[in-house]
Symmetry: C2
Subunit: 430 residues, 2 copies
């Protein structure tokens, strides 16, 4: 028996704006940052749980303050109890009415809950001696259902529906787990496509992506249609006809504008168009999807909660669902998203990049493959080659695939030296 | 010429949970609170701008920290420039990409922007020597359009649409202004209906509401159908057949459950059902509206931004729109909501109560009546008799109507003694 004795929060910021890594039509000069949390217990194993919210710089202190505000919900509690029933633990945070008022279930406070929930999952997986994907994939359908909050979902997905989906995937779990450990999970790369990169860098990185075994790349678009046309032509020339090219507008357009803009890029045979407009606009995305078919609409990285995922699926407003490990209230809510996608037969291609998002989200895709959808039908995890060196178990890519992690935990632990070196100090004094 | 020299934030909390004022099915023991902001300039007039986000207790410190994070966007700037083009000022906050990432346009950071924007409007109205409603209603249609951000709205409302709506309302502005100053604006009351009140208090307060001239009351529901039935019967007996009774579930139900529950209360001839489910669920509300017709669906107090209001109107998911003065990004975004409602021909009955929400939101309804919809067709502002004594210009109700305010400002200024007496001190030391 052990007690949770501390929830430590750190404001970590990397000066990525200097190189324009991560620059897009909405976010022109981000400093990739993490509002980072470490959970400690008094157990003799010395294991700690790590989680974070990803932000792009200013305001990371507010996000850290929100995580800090959750400390009194957790510190002093029995660690085994908290970790044994993660469904109840999740509801304990999300149903807390004063904290819920600050969203509800969206924005800074909801993401703070996600960071803490993910840190608890990291601790739980370390205690189990398993990578998180394997811990989840080893649970019974009933245990998995108990992790999910079905409030506001039952018009689209009931606990019985979820149980049926999970039971359908039970045969073949071990074969798929073996396949994962053998070959990894498909990836695509956004590395070549940032808006701030010049033509030479775009061409060089596109060629390198193909050489590295990727079968899809992604370009940022949305500042200027002629410029997008030119850059897509360069990229297509660089990668040849057999590599898929997706584009990402980062919420830059209104509905009518999105349809017109994308139809103007029809010749490039786009793999998908990502975030064409506001992530809140279910009906807008549905109109865009109808207006640009057969080009698929992809979105999800800024979708605030399971209620939004539900509606996008109900309205046929996305054809590619892009979960993010650090936007919703953690692993539990992302499991709800995976179950919804399975119910509606939509493929999941997670958003990653940022700080540690690749390390974190791979566990969800791998769990999905083994125990939920059982499918790889066009599914891929985004890959960007930023900042992996700051993590204890950085992702590895081989032949365009994520190498399946085997180290215990959720992948979310940052190196102590990196945390210390990049802790934000407003007064500039180290 | 003057400079903004300070943005001061205070965590103000009232111990309302002791009396169960404000108790409902989701929020059982709120401590009504305000993350409060004062903006000071070095002008010789000594005028200050006041705004706030309303919360229900714990986490109010996080909300205050978010407001504080906006100080460096404002302090040191020329006050006249900031106040002269409030559309540009609004976009300066909302388009700021690192802050936007923390929503986008929702939750703690978006509400923080709302508090600061509203404080600037308070200052602008004080400098003009006018109550805010009158300042807004005196602007030209073009000036009003310039306050609104149409990003993500143009599939439902264009600047030209807005201009046409405002020009249509120009004739009769002065007659309606005179009528407002003469008779005030209709109100309804939620005072009798909190879930934590016993039967005697419910009956007594319902009778008092009728005696005070209100023609509609509202009851909280959603914990237990039999109990709701019993309390509605008591209220109906107390108020007689001619007073409308609305109910408010505070997001308590799933879609199917909402339809069943409300249809079980059909005999009470409900004026509307408010917040039947998640405020994010456009499609769910649309299904509920179809399932309980002709009972109208009312919602909006937790709707995070103009994109959500747009969709609820497009989907016929609400029949009564309930704007809130402190949930979206301030006056500007609420003007977008009013214009959307006018475009779709839906009546607006604002949410109020809390801390200072009545004082603030009345200005929007009165502006709407004079310069936007030009209508009173079933429009009413919620009234709850809590905490008005802490404001410099508390609302007054006569014959069931809000008395139209004439004091300069936005109504958002709290008394210095109240701020001081209720400043939250975690260590308990005054």
């Amino acid at each position: 028996m052990s007690t949770i004795i501390a929830l430590e929060t750190t404001d970590v910021r990397f000066p990525t704006s200097k190189s324009l890594d991560g620059s897009d039509a909405m976010n022109t000069d981000p400093d990739y940052s993490a509002a980072y949390v470490r959970i400690r217990t008094d157990a003799v194993d010395g294991l700690t749980g790590h989680g974070f919210t990803f932000t792009i710089g200013r305001g990371n202190d507010v996000q850290a303050a929100a995580i800090e505000a959750l400390a009194d919900r957790l510190v002093g509690r029995n660690a085994e109890e908290v970790l044994a029933d993660m469904g109840a633990t999740w509801r304990g945070f999300v149903y807390d009415s004063p904290l819920r008022w600050l969203g509800p279930e969206k924005g800074v406070m909801h993401m703070a809950i996600g960071a803490v929930v993910n840190a608890l999952w990291d601790l739980k997986a370390k205690r189990a001696g398993q990578p998180l994907w394997q811990l989840l994939a080893g649970m019974s359908p009933e245990e998995i259902v108990s992790l999910v909050d079905f409030r506001y979902l039952t018009d689209a997905l009931t606990p019985d529906d979820a149980l049926a989906i999970l039971k359908r995937a039970q045969p073949g779990r071990s074969e798929r787990e073996a396949a994962l450990l053998d070959s990894g999970y498909p990836a695509y790369t956004t590395t070549p496509g940032w808006l701030g990169y010049d033509d030479a860098k775009l061409t060089r990185l596109s060629r390198e992506a193909v050489a590295a075994g990727f079968t899809q790349i992604k370009l940022k678009v949305g500042n200027d249609p002629d410029e997008d046309n030119r850059r897509l032509r360069l990229a297509r020339e660089a990668v040849g006809p057999d590599i898929r090219i997706a584009v990402d507008a980062n919420q830059r357009w209104d509905v009518g504008q999105a349809i017109e803009w994308i139809n103007g890029l029809a010749e490039f045979d786009l793999a998908w168009v990502e975030e064409p407009t506001s992530p809140d606009d279910v009906l807008g995305h549905a109109a865009i999807a109808r207006g640009i078919a057969p080009v698929p609409v992809a979105t999800g990285e800024h979708m605030s909660n399971r209620v939004m995922f539900k509606q996008f699926l109900q309205a046929d407003a996305l054809q590619v669902m892009q979960i993010d490990s650090a936007r919703v209230a953690g692993i539990n809510e992302n499991i709800a998203a995976l179950l919804l996608a399975a119910k509606f037969g939509v493929r999941v291609c997670p958003h990653a990049g940022g700080v540690g998002l690749c390390e974190a989200v791979q566990h969800l895709s791998m769990f999905d493959y083994v125990a939920v959808s059982g499918q790889l039908d066009g599914r891929m995890i985004e890959y960007v080659d930023h900042l992996h060196e700051h993590f204890v178990t950085p992702v590895r890519i081989e032949n365009g695939n994520y190498v399946t992690p085997t180290a215990p935990g959720a992948g979310t632990e940052m190196l102590p030296d990196s945390i210390d070196a990049y802790t934000f100090r407003p007064d500039g004094i180290a």
